[in-house]
Symmetry: C2
Amino acid sequence: MNFHDFIRDGDGWQTLSAERQFSNPHVEVYAARVKTPTRPDGCAWTVVHRKAAVVIVPMTASGELVLVRQERVPIHATIWEFPAGQIDEAAGHDSQVMRDTGLRELREEAGYELAPGGEWIALGHFFPSAGFTDEHSHLFLARPVTPSPRGHEHDEHEAIVAARTFSIGEVRAMIASGEICDANTLAAWARMAATGIV
Amino acid sequence: MNFHDFIRDGDGWQTLSAERQFSNPHVEVYAARVKTPTRPDGCAWTVVHRKAAVVIVPMTASGELVLVRQERVPIHATIWEFPAGQIDEAAGHDSQVMRDTGLRELREEAGYELAPGGEWIALGHFFPSAGFTDEHSHLFLARPVTPSPRGHEHDEHEAIVAARTFSIGEVRAMIASGEICDANTLAAWARMAATGIV
């Protein structure tokens, strides 16, 4: 069995059994028994299932980055981060769904749009906490972005209190100081630094 | 109430109520009602509680980085990453506990030790999935590290299949290609890139 379409059995991995122990619309907890390449008889593991996400790095024509400032309830903090949103599981995981999800979040959270003819560049994916959850986030650079004539449209369940552009040097300084502290923004920065984008 | 000693009430944040809906030794799920700076009457949120972690960037005297290759059950993959481990909650969160935890994981997972007189440099913390869990990881650079005469000592619950040094250029290429895909390693890289360490 597969928890979802991205993490599959194969290459020595197989979910032998998975008992759902808790579930609500946001999270599911499984007591799983999983065969691994070095443990052919399987090992017991708690797997927390979450929807996959898309993280967008919005870059303007002048090379600035758009961040949103969002209240994050589990950590009791309001933080600057790149816009992001979860992928509807029923829609699947293909590149068009990820692009649609990312562009929707870019407009709703940040109030920006990808300019006509702009680039939508995949920066790969990452796993926020690979010993704990199958959650994964797909990273994309969108450039150039421009303010949307429709403005932003914040979800009533979220609390985004601001959105604005920062220079690459400002974002670098916020990462160095520890002010930027979420995995989405840090993972996207690592990929961009390693590939020479920033 | 506070879920643990790192994320506290204050500055407009307060956990008004939290009903534990699921718990095992690895994870707890709460249905919480939390007052936020913009939502003084509180909002309902699912908060998944996990132990905090320590991530170690081990750098040798010649400037190479030590990575471990670990089977990660929730994502069905064996990946290269920096050594890491969870902090015993009973021990608290002070700097000595974090250093002890980090040095223990460095030896057990990677088979390396901090050289006498070596540096233990805080690179701040990060939140793997701030909309979902209060989990947070403290990042440290340890340099120089040397192979431990006692070797490694793998936890029977874990499956670390290799540990070895990589040049900074090799790690950068593994991040650029997407081979390195865990938030611990990417977040540490972002902090080191932003501060000029790599």
